[in-house]
Each structure stands twice: as C-alpha cells, then as structure tokens.
Symmetry: C2
Subunit: 244 residues, 2 copies
C-alpha cells in the first residue's frame, strides 16, 4: 500500500493562516474529504477528487478516508482550525479502532491554527496564563459533564475557551453555562465573543460577565472567558503572566 491519510488543519478561515506543511499535503493529495464548507476552501485541480460531506457524518467520512488510502489513494481529511481540537483527528482514530485491518496505514495529523488561539490573538492575549478548552456541545457527552468542568475551571481560576457554545437545537445550554460562571466569578469578569475569526464575517466583542447574554454566541463563535486577573489595556484584552 502506498496510500496515506493526512488529517490537516486549515486554520480558522484566512489562507494566510494555512501552514506550508498543509499546503504541501494538499498539493500531493489525490482525494480530499471533509465537511462541505472546509472542502470548498480547497482549489480544484486535475487529478484531485473532492468529497464534500455533510456535518455529523464524521465516522462515515473517516471510514471513507481509510478505505481510499487502503486502495492506494493519498487522502487529506480537512478540518477547520486544528484537527486535534474538537475535530476530525479523533474521529479517524475511532474509525481505525473499529476497523483494525487498516492499522498498518500511514496516518499523520498536521496541526493548524485553532479557533481559540486565532480569537485570542485578535483580542490581545486573554489566554496568556493557564487555560482550559471546553466543547459545550452535549452531542457526545452529558451536559452535566460540561457544567462540572466549567465549575472546576472557574474554581481553579483558569481562563477558558468554549467551542460550539450554542446550537439552534439547544439554545438554553449556553444560558446555563453563564449561570455556572456567575456562581463562581465576579460580575466584572471579561468575556470575549469571537465570531468567524479571520474571515470576512469576523466580529469580536468583549463584555463583562454581567453584560453577557446567550444571544452573543452562535455556532461560529468561540467564547473566551478571562481569569480573575484578565483586564483591558486600551483596545486590548490580556491576562497577565503572573497569578496569585
């Protein structure tokens, strides 16, 4: 078998945030697999087959990638951001665990700029000290686990980044997360809502916990909660390197 699977992070949206390593992998690929809007970011060319698929079919997509690589194809599975952060890398390994005939395949993960770090950079440096990354979706875990982790992160005075903060089908859950934060943090705690970072739709807004409302987030938003020392300086939001 000379095929391979590369799971590549395209970054949050701008081409200027795609690493040369990922660009090179795409140039070598025979097939590109991924969620429709991410595959749409790959330029068509002769010899390259694009396989866009819908959201929430991660396991089908992963199995498809493994099968094609076993047939000798050079397959790039594209994720936005970093593929190892709430994205396709874990799905590929789940599929591999369920299909051990593919264990000898050449599988590599190429990192990308994940949304929380692109968002933090635009805001200033709100993740400049210890922080947690939490996926607020309860598609794959009980919502009680989300609440527990947010509470523990607040108790530890971690800064936090929330992925998938709000879905149309479960709008009340982000409301509940704000309640958990209010139980543990001062009303002046700074929260940055960063939508569609590095794209034409980018919108960044920082408010206090007292001002935050659930409608400030949607599924294209990453939410960054500062720690107790996070502050504004001019237009910037940053967390000092030191802690109490």
């Amino acid at each position: 078998m000379s095929g391979w699977v590369i799971v590549a992070g395209l970054g949050p949206g701008s081409e200027s945030l795609v690493t040369p390593e990922v660009t090179e992998a795409l140039a070598q690929a025979t097939d590109v697999v991924g969620y429709i809007p991410y595959v749409a970011r790959v330029a068509p060319r002769p010899g390259l087959t694009l396989h866009p698929s819908d959201n929430r079919v991660e396991m089908d997509r992963a199995q498809h990638a493994l099968r094609m690589a076993a047939e000798g194809k050079r397959v790039v599975v594209v994720s936005s951001g970093d593929p190892g952060v709430f994205a396709m890398a874990s799905a590929i390994f789940e599929a591999l665990e369920a299909a051990p005939q593919f264990l000898d395949l050449d599988i590599r993960i190429l990192p990308g700029i994940t949304a929380m770090l692109a968002a933090a950079a635009r805001a200033g440096a709100p993740l400049g000290h210890d922080f947690c990354a939490i996926n607020l979706s309860d598609n794959l875990k009980p919502f009680a686990t989300v609440e527990k982790r947010v509470a523990l992160a607040a108790q530890g005075d971690f800064a936090m980044a929330f992925y998938n903060p709000r879905s149309a089908s479960r709008p009340h859950q982000f409301t509940r997360v704000l309640e958990v934060l209010r139980a543990h943090c001062d009303p002046g705690r700074l929260i940055t809502f960063a939508r569609a970072v590095s794209t034409a739709d980018e919108a960044i807004r920082t408010v206090t916990l007292a001002e935050a409302t659930p409608d400030m987030a949607d599924m294209r938003t990453v939410v960054i909660v500062g720690n107790s020392q996070t502050r504004r300086i001019g237009p910037h939001v940053y967390t000092p390197r030191s802690a109490l």
Copy 2:
C-alpha cells in the same frame, strides 16, 4: 507614528509550520526582537536589524519593542509556538500597561502553532476532548497554584498539556506534579513526553503514569496527559470525542 509592533508566533521549530501571515510580517519588519534562539530563526537581510536577548528579560524586550515602534520602526517580536500561550504577547501588554504613553501604538498579535498542538498531532490526538494547558513553572505564580490546578483538572477528567515541566533549578517540582496525578488517576493513564517537536532533536515517548519518571521531561519538553478514556491504537495515542 507609522511604526508598529507585531508579536508573531514562529511555531515549534519547523519552517513548514510558520504561517504565511508571519512570514509576511517578517518581510515588512525593520527590527526583530526576541529570545536568542528564536531570533536566530529569522534570516538576516539588508534593512533588518536583529535584536536577540537573553531569557527572562521579557519586560525589557517588550519595552524596547514599544519604544522602537514609537520611533517609527516596524517591530516584530518573535515567540516560539503561539505568542499568546505562555509567551511574549502578555508581556507586551504588561509593558503597555506600565507605559501608557504608548497606548495609541498599532499592536497586533499573530497566532502560531503552539507546542502542545504540534506534539498532540505527532502523537495522534491526545487532546481530542476537553483539555487544560498549565505552565508548571513557578517563576510567576506560587507552586501551590500549580498543584491545585493539576488536581482540579484531574477531578474534571480533562486531558492536560504541561509547558515548562522541569527546570534545572527546580527538578523536584515535576516529581510533585506526578504525585498529584497519581493521587487522582489510574496507573494506566497515558502520558506523552514530546521533546523539541518538529526539530532535528524531536523525541516522542508515551508511557503510563505508573512508568513515568521526572527525568523524562526537560525544559524543551511539552507533556500531555490523557484523560481517563485516552488509549493507544497501533502507534497512535488518542482521546475519543465522547465522554462519560
């Protein structure tokens, strides 16, 4: 003033992980400031002045960058990895807070591939579910805060990434962190020691918590601790997307 300060992440070491955005900023710069080994990664050219400085002089370096920008220079402050993760972005804003005469300066942060995400990609996907990033150095916080955060992260069943796990002057502290982990996690918990990722010196090793010893980490190592579900599949280490 037409000068500016850009704080740019060079990624963990390989040129193939430097974003085009950062490459472009370096091409526009008149001055580059940073820790000696990071400035050494920038190619000299006519019109560019390199200002390498020693470790632990972050505030001097930040003030120097602000002063030069105020004089009209185009200054890039280089960090390894991502500048917003335990690096120079927060130091620049600390310097700005102490020198408000520079508040109107054009200051931007450009994200980079941070060490934990490069290391996770090499290992597989050990950060594929909720995780914390913790700086184990007590240069800027009490070590009791480190111990508390590691314990809370373990209680929440977060995966964890440790930066600056071990220094020559405080070798016993990583020993203590392993003790905290052993108090909360099963002996089979997987730990990846990733040294100098993406450089010629790269070395990646995954062991169980029972097998882990303090000498497996040094200051060029990022340590990734899986959560309770993290497992091996073939040569890969990954954390499933679902949680209990």
